[in-house]
């Protein structure tokens, strides 16, 4: 444990110590994000009209037009960030009636308009639940809506109860309730490091303090350190932590730093952890070596696919801005949403720049 603490940088250490303390004390050293007010109404309109139906269903148009709990979560979060109460309520109503039906209080993860019944996979996806609970909490507090507050708390308790598990005594997040534990898989437990939405943990901690959210946060960082200790310094999307100190790609999954993992720097930065060493490694690849944002084989280091949608480029621009103060190129400033996922990443990245690094704009 001491070795790990020594590895982490100063501000991160402080933040870790802050996690779990009263909001006032936390506020003294590191501002939690306001997050509202940094998505322009024009950008939001573009996103909303393209990806959100009147019923409140967020459509993943790169994925057979299905919906998932992650999309509902991003939709809620972005609607809140844009200050759009009307759309938030729509998305919430749909999420409540169609997704939040599990006996354990979590959301099913996959909803298909062409299937009967629509839910085609009843398992939950923990990052979706976290995003939904986080957005509800923020909205409930900002808009003084008891329904949101109560729902946020109920969901936070469900997440804590059902998705936090222990590995060698350390708490971690199960990607889903079914299929990832040691009992479920020979190489279990298996985790997805991009499910750690760090900025949400302090919020969840106030809603459901009986669970060890700061422990989960810490373990996410530790696992990230371990998973990036290899030759390529990149974590695979799905890793087995059967041996906690030596994470490996999970059996049956590609050894790929892919669509999941490239969100990790976004979440680290949104939670204020700009000092992490690993971000420098990423900068080397993405910016200095001019590789750009790409999916990469974590064993060989080979680039599989360079990603050119502006949403992915925004991730890189955010990194450059946060680490080096590099200005965002003008070409990137015009929002042109094509696909739900990179469009969501775009708004999450740009709104962070707007709030925390306005000098880059």
């Amino acid at each position: 444990m001491n070795a790990v603490v020594r590895c982490l940088s100063g501000s991160v250490l402080l933040l870790l110590l802050m996690a779990g303390l009263t909001p006032a004390a936390r506020g003294a050293t590191m501002e939690p994000l306001k997050i509202t007010g940094f998505v322009s109404s024009a950008d939001w309109e573009a996103y909303r009209t393209r990806f959100i139906e009147d019923t409140g269903r967020v459509v993943d148009n790169a994925n057979g037009n299905i919906s998932h709990s992650e999309g509902q979560g991003y939709g809620l979060l972005l609607a809140f960030m844009a200050g759009d109460r009307l759309t938030f309520e729509k998305i919430w109503t749909f999420t409540y009636t169609e997704f939040l039906i599990r006996d354990d209080g979590l959301a099913v993860w996959k909803w298909d308009p062409t299937a009967t019944p629509h839910v085609t996979d009843r398992n939950n996806a923990t990052d979706g639940d976290i995003l939904i609970a986080y957005a509800l909490a923020k909205a409930g507090a900002a808009w003084q809506d008891q329904r949101y507050n109560q729902a946020a708390q109920k969901l936070a308790k469900a997440i804590g109860r059902a998705t936090i598990a222990k590995n060698a005594g350390f708490p971690f997040l199960l990607p889903g309730v079914k299929g990832f534990t040691q009992a479920d898989r020979r190489d279990g437990p298996v985790v997805n490091l991009s499910y750690w939405v760090f900025e949400a943990f302090p919020v969840l901690a106030t809603l459901a303090p009986e669970y060890d959210w700061s422990g989960v946060w810490r373990e996410g960082i530790v696992l990230l350190q371990q998973a990036t200790a290899g030759r390529t310094h990149l974590p695979a999307d799905w890793i087995s932590i059967h041996n906690r100190m030596m994470p490996r790609t999970a059996e049956g999954f590609d050894p790929e730093f892919g669509y999941n993992s490239l969100r990790i720097p976004l979440y680290l930065l949104r939670a204020g952890m700009a000092d992490m060493d690993w971000l420098k490694t990423l900068r080397q690849r993405w910016i200095v070596d001019q590789e750009g944002v790409a999916t990469v084989n974590v064993v060989t280091g080979e680039v599989k696919e360079r990603l050119t949608d502006q949403g992915y480029m925004a991730l890189s621009a955010l990194l450059a801005c946060a680490l080096d103060g590099t200005k965002v190129p003008d070409t990137l400033k015009a929002f042109n949403p094509q696909f739900y996922y990179p469009a969501s990443l775009y708004l999450l990245s740009m709104s962070l720049i707007g709030e925390k690094y306005p000098q880059c704009l």
Binding site: D54, E89, I101, V108, P117, R122
Partner: protein, 714 residues
């Protein structure tokens, strides 16, 4: 959140609450008025809250639109009588926004309705949405969530929604009630399920929904609970229930249970119900049920006709299985075998029935005359299934039709599949004894003496009263008995060769089998050749004691000779014939010479037979016949001794006298084979193959292929 007992009680209490609200007519959640017993139609309970709102606003346009919408959804619904009282009254300020909200609600656009409320509240914190509308939205959303949770088997969610929104649990929402009932059943609370159904049957009027409730009960509750519910059948009133389909189904289930258990009987009433259903329907299921009931309750005649009905209606494997079994029980075994053969591959059970029926057929005593086709098709099935019982039956059948060596092979096969089978061991013992195979006989006896009285008896030479299966017939039953192939020869040629060590033995066995068969045939032919006039019961009695023929007249000596031949005492017969020869007239001498020749042939003294044959001139027919027999015998002897060239010579000579039949051709083929003249052997086997005996010939061709590595295709 797991539902604990307290919430469960609440759920039921919620039901009770809803029931109370219903019956007292209290204005809790918006509901239609009480079903009026004297009204013309059973008023379906429909959510009229939006309609009442529009009416209270005096919005006749929207009222008309809502009436049209509800009529379209619920054809048997009519507007409430008190609607006109509301129109224009109430004094509520007309709020277009609220109108729009109710409009969204009626269009099921709940998300948009909620969003509009939220936006309005954000803009105007003083504004409050109409409580009716909020409740209506709450209930509508709860209903949707309940349906989704139920569709995805999230039972605790279903029950907690029911607890939180008891207004859902009313006759306007029978579908929700059904889902709640299912959730109770799936969480092991079928008593609560019955309570929900009881509530529906007590309070809700719609006949289709009432019947539907019983149908749901059929899938979730047991017979006693369903019987409880049947008590709520409404026999009177304008729309009485008709639950007869439910009662029919219960009867059917009782018959179904009894149909597979001979110890259970179904009542006459229940059987009558199922018979009625079977006759009036087009499906095979009920006929099948009755078939099995009859079969298991000792009525194969009836069973047969029910199974036939089921088959005609497409009942497939199960019906075929029952049909074959019924034929067997009626002892119509040949039909059963033919029928079961057609169905044998449809399912493992059908194959088993086929084998059972074939076994029964073959085991009949006396052995039935069977179409050779039957044997040919039984064998592959038996071999594939490795059925010891059927192999045994083939063994006995072969035995009873004089094919001893083949019989033994089948018994050996049966024993190899089921090493602890005493009847098979007995079969091996008895056939080994007949074939004079001391080694095998002793081996079996030593293994089985302690386990089997009859095998021990065999060894000790005690003849007990044999069972039907064991009785060998001293005289063959008929000359046209279908040949039973030996199991080894029955292995199809295209099969991959077995591991080498086994193979040479198989070839040898086939060769020996060919020889054995010939021997038996020869014997039979010789036995059958006796002049008819010499048969008769008197002659039999005349030669049981040893007599010196020296004192007899020629005719008496001839009689004696034939009698002794029948008793299988050829040497003595030869002596009698000899005496007759010295005394007799030319005609009698011809008979005597003929008889002596046959006797020597019987004793395998081919040389002497030839001499005897030449002693007196014979008719050309007898001459031909004797030559053929003698040459065949010579060939057989040479074959047995392994003098292959002599076999070929003798058979070649014989073929010039009479046309060569297949089994002798096989002998020739094997002889060529042994001499390494594979081309000639193959040529002969192929010729045999084309005229029949394809299994035997196939075995020969396989043997050649194995040795030479190829067989020329033609």
């Amino acid at each position: 959140m797991p539902l604990n007992r307290g919430m469960m009680a609440l759920a039921v209490a919620g039901l009770a609450f809803a029931a109370l609200a219903q019956q007292s007519g209290s204005p809790a959640p918006p509901q239609g008025p009480e079903p009026n017993a004297s009204s013309a139609s059973p008023r379906r309970q429909v959510d009229e809250s939006a309609l009442r709102y529009f009416a209270s606003q005096g919005d006749t346009r929207r009222v008309d639109a809502e009436i049209a919408r509800l009529r379209a959804l619920y054809p048997d619904w009519s507007p409430p009588a008190d609607l006109s009282q509301l129109v224009g009254g109430g004094g509520v300020v007309n709020d277009p926004e609220v109108d729009r909200l109710w409009g969204l609600y009626t269009e099921n656009k709940f998300s948009e309705a909620r969003a509009a409320i939220a936006a309005r509240q954000a803009a105007d914190p003083q504004w409050k949405p109409p409580p009716d509308l909020v409740t209506a939205l709450d209930v509508a959303e709860a209903r949707k969530r309940l349906v989704n949770a139920s569709d995805n088997s999230q039972w605790r969610t279903v029950l907690s929604i029911a607890t939180e929104t008891p207004s859902l649990l009313t006759c306007a929402n029978v579908d929700s009630l059904w889902r709640v009932a299912e959730a109770f059943a799936k969480t092991d609370q079928t008593g609560r399920t019955r309570d929900v159904y009881t509530y529906i049957l007590t309070n809700c009027a719609n006949p289709a929904e009432r019947l539907g409730t019983l149908q749901k009960a059929l899938t979730l509750l047991d017979e006693a609970q369903i019987a409880d519910l049947l008590k709520y059948e409404r026999k009177s009133g304008d729309y009485p229930d008709d639950f007869s389909a439910i009662r029919d189904e219960l009867a059917r289930r009782r018959v179904a249970r009894a149909s597979t258990d001979p110890k259970l009987t179904a009542s006459a009433e229940d059987l009558a119900v199922v018979e009625r259903l079977a006759e009036s329907g087009k499906e095979p299921g009920n006929a099948l049920l009755l078939g099995y009931y009859s079969y298991h309750h000792k009525n194969p005649e009836k069973a047969l006709s029910w199974f036939k009905m089921a088959l005609d209606r497409g009942g497939s494997e199960k019906a075929a299985e029952g049909y074959a079994l019924s034929l067997r029980d009626l002892n119509r075994l040949a039909e059963a075998e033919a029928f079961a053969f057609e169905w044998r591959d449809k399912a493992p059970e059908n194959m088993q029935v086929y084998l059972d029926v074939a076994t029964a057929l073959l085991s009949q005593d006396p052995p039935p005359r069977l179409d050779p086709k039957v044997i040919v098709r039984v064998i592959p099935a038996v071999t594939k299934a490795r059925s010891a019982g059927a192999a045994q039956a083939l063994g006995w059948y072969s035995y009873n039709t004089g094919q001893i060596s083949t019989a033994r092979e089948w018994f050996e096969e049966a024993l190899s599949w089921k090493a602890d089978d005493e009847p098979s061991a007995y079969g091996v013992a008895i056939t080994s004894q007949r074939l004079n195979d001391r080694a095998r006989f002793n081996a079996i006896v030593s293994q089985w003496r302690s386990r089997s009285q009859r095998i021990a008896d065999l060894a000790d030479g005690i003849v007990r009263d044999r069972t039907a299966q064991a009785t060998p017939q001293p005289a063959p039953s008929s000359p046209v008995e279908p040949q039973v192939s030996s199991p080894r020869a029955a292995a199809p040629a295209p099969e991959l060769p077995a591991p080498p060590p086994e193979r040479p033995r198989r070839i040898e066995e086939t060769r020996v089998a060919a020889y054995d068969r010939l021997v038996v045939q020869q014997e039979r032919q010789l036995q059958g050749k006796r002049p008819a006039a010499r048969r008769g019961g008197a002659s039999r009695q005349a030669c049981t004691t040893t007599r010196d023929p020296g004192s007899l007249s020629a005719p008496a000596a001839l009689n004696l000779g034939w009698c002794l031949m029948e008793m299988n005492r050829p040497l003595e017969a030869a002596a009698a014939f000899d005496h007759a020869f010295t005394l007799g007239s030319p005609a009698q001498r011809e008979d005597a010479a003929y008889g002596k020749s046959l006797a020597y042939l019987r004793k395998d003294l081919t040389g002497k037979a030839a001499v005897a044959a030449a002693q007196a001139p014979q008719t050309s027919a007898r001459r031909t016949e004797l030559s053929a027999a003698i040459l065949a015998q010579r060939a057989l002897a040479a074959y047995r001794d392994g003098r292959w060239p002599d076999v070929i010579l003798a058979l070649g000579e014989r073929a010039r006298v009479v046309p060569e039949q297949n089994d002798l051709m096989l002998l020739r083929g094997w002889s060529y084979f042994k001499l390494g003249r594979y081309e000639d052997a193959a040529r002969i086997f192929r010729a045999v193959q084309q005229t029949g005996y394809s299994d035997e010939a196939g075995a020969g061709l396989s043997a050649i292929m194995e040795i030479t590595g190829q067989v020329r295709q033609y």
